[in-house]
Amino acid sequence: MAEKAVLILGGTSDIARATALAFAKRDWTVRLAGRAPPELQREADDISARTGRTVTIHQFDVLATGSFAAFADALPGLPDVVISVVGLLGDQARAETDPDHASEIMRSNYEGPALILSLFAERFRARGAGAIVGISSVAGDRGRGSNYVYGSAKAGFTAFLSGLRNRLAASGVHVMTVKPGFVRTRMTEHMKLPPIITATPEEVGEAVLAGLSRHKDVIYVRPIWLLVMLIIRMIPEPVFKRLKL
């Protein structure tokens, strides 16, 4: 039997790297897709040297939605699992007055990931098997003044994944939503994050694998986030709007 293949979209982020390593260590073939081939190649070489597995790289731009079908057709076969790690935190203050930047955040976190996963979902449905994983965010669980442009796009992505899961429940296609919470990455290296609720990229990779094998629908990488977000969602809006969050 051929080795199973995982396609990771957004292949040069810390979470993508850790997730790719976790799969490669368990003998999966890894396909990394992203915008910058030299950086992708560096990650691919690293994963291949560390694990001895096959790692291929594929040019992919999440904003170029018109090229998605051609991108999928050019892969060396339909993968068994597709994971979208694509995301753009952006600059909230700038997005408040710069519609182009706001649109870029919305499209990078919602439109692009949703459309590409949707395309693979259709092909998986036709095959009758496959798993779709979307790395969304706790920021999508409730809009906050400090990052609602990003958060609203993630909320859209979360809802999209939920609907996709609902539609495909009987088709043999598994759709999993991952909400990592705080993660120690390049994106957050200058922030002071509380250690108890901050995961490493490796934890995210392991959580994705564990979630897939247990057929989970929605996972928080550190379970404490379930409680944190439950409380945050329960705060009545008249109170919430006055909080500095």
Binding site: R42, E43, D45, D46, A49, R50, T51, G52, R186
Partner: protein, 442 residues
């Protein structure tokens, strides 16, 4: 500015910390260096990896580039840790040829300090297994150095303490191993002469090291446990061990707080040493199988173990003494240490083999490594030990040093003309300068 220190947490120095994410950024930082030096994982004990003004952190450069299963050669970026190499390649039957007492060092740092392990007497230092390296020079050039191309640069960079440029990548030869287990045999030596005789008598054993009870005096001065080791073959494992042929270590626990300075005192150390010696003596004679990680890196199981010495930090004094003068000088040093009762928690004696030149530490003879918490008259006491080292024709390990004098350094590393020539050629304006280099006038 950021206050940083070496592993001994002394001295603590303000530096401009630069953390480039790409090879190109390291090349630029080296070219624009303002009295800068590259820093790996910060496990050098003193001021070797702290720049006079700037310090270039290499830990983001931690990707592996290629591995050739047929030759056992791996090419990695300089910030890859030995623990990463072991995690990736031990399960496939390969192990680094040379490992020091911790696996939490970078490949770049291992080359810069030409680190040695328990096999130096027979197999040499880390530098011997470097096939090629990619070096960013202060001129902005990137040079590939090997035994064929730019051999003088390769030679000077091995053990060069980062003073020839920033190592970007290296190709190193790994050792093929059948298992991840070590066949360990413990011997008891009742005094220093017996310890030296045991190390000499087991020259053909791959790994050997002696642990000395520094508090033993008089007739038992230098009483030791000698740990000998060989890589175990598959057919030497029992069924349970064979099922776990390449055991890997779990992530370390950590010392959560600075221990109070009084936690390590004469009595606590004496009690520890006594227990350790008795436990070792009970196991003496027969061979036991132990996983490679705890054999080579016992302290790696405890992250931040440097905190057990308290907030004031500690220094390590590691000297090498030429074989013919070693026993007398060691007896003198150990006698003074025992009289001072200076609670050296770890005292390790090891036989070293061929020297490799430049600033590289090893020379044929014996190396003694001692830890001392900072306090009292420590520095004047260490100066006394240095006098004995110099008199015996020995020298101190720069990767451990935080305080030796220029005179001690000049006496120990007498022939640096070749090294200084390379330095002048590649760095005429003095862009690279660590605190250690400034202190010792290198």
């Amino acid at each position: 500015m950021t206050a940083i220190s070496g592993w001994g947490r002394y001295p603590i120095i303000d530096t401009e910390l630069i953390g480039p994410r790409t090879t190109e950024a390291i090349v630029r930082a080296t070219e624009q260096g303002d009295q800068a030096v590259a820093r790996g994982n910060g496990r050098a004990y003193g001021d070797a990896a702290v720049g006079v003004r700037q310090t270039i952190t290499m830990t983001h450069l931690n990707r592996m580039r290629a591995f050739d299963h047929a030759t056992g050669q791996v090419t990695v970026e300089a910030g890859v840790l030995l623990s990463d190499l072991i995690a990736a390649f031990l399960p496939r039957g390969f192990f680094p040829y040379v490992v020091p007492g911790t696996s939490f060092i970078t490949v770049g740092g291992a080359i810069a300090a030409d680190v040695h392990g328990k096999n130096h007497h027979g197999e040499g230092g880390f530098g011997r297994y470097v096939e090629t390296l990619l070096l960013a020079l202060p001129t902005g050039e990137v040079v590939r150095a090997s035994r064929k191309d730019h051999p003088d640069l390769l030679q000077a960079t091995i053990g060069g303490m980062g003073l020839t440029g920033s190592i970007l990548e290296a190709t190193i030869q790994l050792r093929r191993v059948e298992t991840g287990w070590i066949r360990q045999r413990t011997m008891v030596a009742n005094n220093l002469a017996a310890a030296i005789a045991a190390l000499d008598g087991n020259e053909s054993v791959t790994y050997s090291v002696a642990w000395i009870d520094c508090l033993a005096k008089g007739a038992s001065l230098g009483r030791s446990l000698i740990f000998l080791g060989e890589h175990a073959a598959s057919n030497q494992l029992d069924e349970r061990q064979f099922a776990n042929r390449f055991p890997l270590r779990k992530p370390p626990l950590s010392v959560p707080i600075d221990m109070p300075s009084f936690a390590l005192n004469h009595w606590s150390v004496a009690a520890f040493n006594e227990l350790y010696f008795r436990a070792g003596a009970r196991k003496a004679g027969s061979s036991i199988l132990v996983p490679a990680a705890p054999y080579f890196f016992p302290l790696d199981a405890l992250g931040n173990w440097n905190r057990i010495y308290g907030r004031r930090g500690f220094v390590q004094h590691q000297c090498v003494l030429p074989a013919k003068n070693a026993e007398a000088a060691l007896a003198d040093m150990l006698g003074r240490i025992a009289r001072r009762g200076g609670s050296s928690f770890l005292a390790v004696l090891k036989k070293l083999g061929e020297a490799s030149g430049g600033l590289s530490f090893p020379m044929p003879g014996y190396t003694l490594a001692l830890d001392f918490p900072i306090g009292r008259d420590l520095f004047s006491f260490l100066d006394e030990l240095d006098v004995l080292v110099v008199k015996a024709g020995g020298r101190l390990y720069l990767a451990k040093d935080a305080r030796q004098s220029r005179a001690t350094f000049d006496a120990g590393y007498a022939d640096l003309s070749g090294f200084r020539d390379v330095r002048r050629t590649i760095d005429p304006t003095g862009k690279i300068k660590s605190r250690l280099a400034a202190r010792l006038g290198i």
